[in-house]
């Protein structure tokens, strides 16, 4: 006797399946096959929940009571909301590439005039038959699989060999409000050998609307290339934002990655970074500035697949009210990855009795000639330091702000560009200024 086993689906899972069956998405046959394979992988796993270790602090199955309908292409009204977008960190001098509800909007974007760099909307690239290879490190992640299945638009950026892009490229993602919709944006950035790119992404949307963002960035850093990547998350207070970074780092290459989350209802950032070539330098840093009931979960898997690479991870959370900051970092050192040097630091500053910090550093070391370490702390502001500042005439609120900025500064210092560092610190000061 044969019996088909039909797993019980949640309402959201059923809605996603119905949506996938009905929707027409860009791309030829190869892309369609890729989407189907990804969706099948998702269906087998289902929405990740708290008994899945990687997702234990962010139970997507509980958080996604329903799957929102896919966002339609933005009309004039939706686009008008996006004119001032991307300024939560002010003073960024960058080429702007704007996406409203996940769709590229040429009239709001700059025409990039730099040699050696091309930017193509993903929908255009898929339409003309370009495939997208999926990195194996993230292949099993259900959120990334969903992104692959539903990806509609995004930026495909290619920086030619030895080209140095003078001005940063800023991908501005905006949810326009109106209806609570779902957006699946996917970008691919290929920086060829010896080239240099500074890439900024920002994500924002309105408060009091339970829209859903699933965004992904597939980043290839060629041999000897350098990429500075800054992701700024500033979604609305009811939004669900899931972002995946999949990065492959070549030999002697440098990746400096910084994730800045200032608010947003529920934010899950996950990074799958693989060192594929010798002597690469990787810095992964992040700052969470959270208040009210905001939730941010950063989950890093850094794979030292090859030896001789150096990595530094510095994460800071400043948690007020009933917010929750989760920092998870897994560093894997493969058996042949000798002379790996990896250090991870996670620190949380709790500004209220009801805030929560969860830290989970993990080291999986299979090589014997390595230097690896991690540290984790969580605590309140140091009363003695505060007294020292106040004894010099600095009012309590200002003394606290100085100490919090110093705390955040240690992570922001990993950003190489002076102007960007100042912009991030200025945004921090503004966030602190809104503290009650």
């Amino acid at each position: 006797m044969n019996a088909d086993v039909t797993p019980i689906k949640t309402a959201a899972e059923s809605a996603l399946a119905a949506s996938f069956a009905a929707v027409s998405l860009p791309g030829g046959e190869a892309v369609t096959r890729q989407r189907r394979a990804a969706f099948k992988a998702f269906e087998i796993a289902g929405l990740p929940h708290r008994r899945i270790e990687e997702w234990k602090y962010t139970d997507l199955r509980a958080l996604m009571r329903d799957a929102k309908p896919l966002a339609p292409p933005p009309g004039a009204e939706a686009k008008s909301h996006a004119k001032a977008a991307g300024t939560m960190v002010s003073g960024l001098h960058a080429w702007r590439v704007v996406f409203v509800d996940g769709t590229h909007v040429p009239e709001l974007s700059d025409a990039i005039a730099e040699a050696g760099v091309t930017v193509t909307p993903l929908a255009v690239a898929l339409g003309r038959g370009d495939g997208l290879a999926t990195e194996s490190t993230a292949a099993n992640d259900p959120a990334f699989a969903l992104n692959t299945a539903f990806m509609s638009d995004g930026a495909v950026i290619r920086v030619a060999r030895n080209a140095a892009v003078a001005k940063p490229i800023h991908l501005v993602f905006v949810h326009s409000g109106g209806a609570a919709t779902a957006v699946f944006a996917r970008s691919q950035v290929i920086v060829e050998e010896g080239a240099h790119l500074t890439l900024i992404e920002s994500h924002e949307g309105p408060d009091a609307l339970d829209y859903q963002i699933n965004t992904a960035l597939d980043l290839r850093v060629g041999d000897g290339a350098r990429v500075d990547h800054i992701k700024i998350g500033c979604e609305g207070n009811s939004a669900l934002h899931v972002a995946s970074l999949v990065a492959a780092i070549g030999a002697r290459a440098t990746l400096s990655d910084f994730t800045f989350t200032l608010g947003g209802g529920t934010t899950r950032n996950q990074a799958f970074v693989t060192c594929n070539g010798k002597d690469a330098t990787v810095t992964i840093a992040g700052v969470n500035l959270l208040r009210h009931k905001e939730h941010s979960d950063y989950a890093l898997v850094l794979d030292h697949a090859i030896g001789g690479c150096t990595s530094r991870e510095v994460f800071k959370s400043v948690l007020d009210d009933e917010s929750r900051g989760v920092l998870q970092g897994k560093i894997v050192v493969r058996p042949d990855a000798q002379r790996t040097d990896a250090r991870m630091l996670m620190r949380a500053l709790l500004l209220s009795e009801t805030a929560e910090a969860d830290h989970k550093p993990e080291l999986e070391i299979f090589a014997d000639d390595v230097q690896c370490g991690h540290g984790s702390t969580a605590g309140a502001l140091d009363g003695d330091l505060k007294f020292y500042l106040m004894a010099r005439g600095i009012p309590e609120h200002e003394a606290e702000a100085l100490l919090i900025q110093a705390f955040v500064g240690e992570a922001v210092e990993t950003v190489a560009d002076h102007g960007l560092r100042d912009a991030l610190m200025f945004a921090t000061a503004r966030w602190l200024g809104a503290r009650s």
Partner: protein, 251 residues
């Protein structure tokens, strides 16, 4: 009017009576030294005057120019002219010394209704003050006291004192941990600030500091109160005989 008038001050820390009816009057232009053995209450007096948390005042008063100091937050006390040079100055990584100095100075000026200093004027004052104390520009660029030696930290305290121009300076064991050369630099810094408008309270174990900063009045603090007051000769007498004589007197 006295610059500082402490009347019958009693303080409890962790259910222990540390100050026990202390009286002290400091007039403008005077330098007072308070000496006493370990545990007499010297640092408690300094912390209570500056407004550190964790000290319960169970009785008495401390008036600065007639105003009740104990009712004010630490920053308000500083703006009214109270300055404590810490025995152990703290390191604050990530807060640049220049930012710290400017924030402190401007916060005080703002509270007093004075305009903020222009950047060139501020820089000039810091450079002049730092130069006199042998503090180089590199130290000013670092985080507050980060990587400073013990002597450098104490010099940084005196630099802050010079910039903030307080009216009452309380120096808590400023000589501790200093070699003789550093002691001279710090003492010169204090002596330059002596003026008819300013008063000093120097808390110390040893007579040594008083060779370089000559006090007008010397007090012996014993079990939370002043048990003897005299001139500079009292310090020499203590150095020679120790505090043993007070064992019986106070009992």
């Amino acid at each position: 009017m006295a610059l500082l008038k402490i009347k019958n001050l009693s303080v409890v820390v962790d259910n222990r009576q540390i100050l026990n009816g202390l009286d002290l009057t400091v007039n403008k232009g005077e330098v007072h030294a308070i000496m006493g053995p370990n545990g007499a209450g010297k640092s408690t007096l300094a912390h209570v005057l500056a407004g550190k948390a964790g000290y319960e005042v169970t009785g008495g008063q401390a008036l600065l120019d007639g105003e009740d100091l104990l009712a004010l937050d630490p920053d308000e006390r500083a703006a009214r002219g109270m300055f404590l040079a810490f025995q152990y100055p703290l390191e604050i990584p990530g807060v640049a010394t220049m930012t710290f100095l400017r924030t402190a100075l401007n916060a005080q000026r703002k509270k007093r209704g004075e305009p903020e200093l222009t950047t060139p004027e501020f820089m000039k004052r810091v450079r002049d003050g730092a130069g006199k104390l042998g503090i180089d520009q590199d130290m000013l660029r670092r985080g507050v006291n980060v990587g400073f030696s013990g002597g450098e930290k104490k010099r940084n305290e005196i630099l802050q004192m010079a910039l903030l121009e307080p009216r009452l300076c309380v120096l808590d064991e400023t000589d501790s941990g200093l070699d003789i050369d550093a002691l001279k630099v710090v003492a010169d810094g204090v002596n330059r600030l002596r003026s008819p408008e300013r008063g000093f309270v120097m808390i110390t174990h040893y007579q040594r500091l008083l060779d370089y900063i000559k006090p007008d009045v010397v007090h012996v603090l014993w079990r939370g109160r002043i048990v003897k007051t005299g001139g500079p000769e009292l310090a020499l007498e203590l150095e020679a005989k120790g505090y043993a004589a007070y064992q019986t007197e106070a009992a």
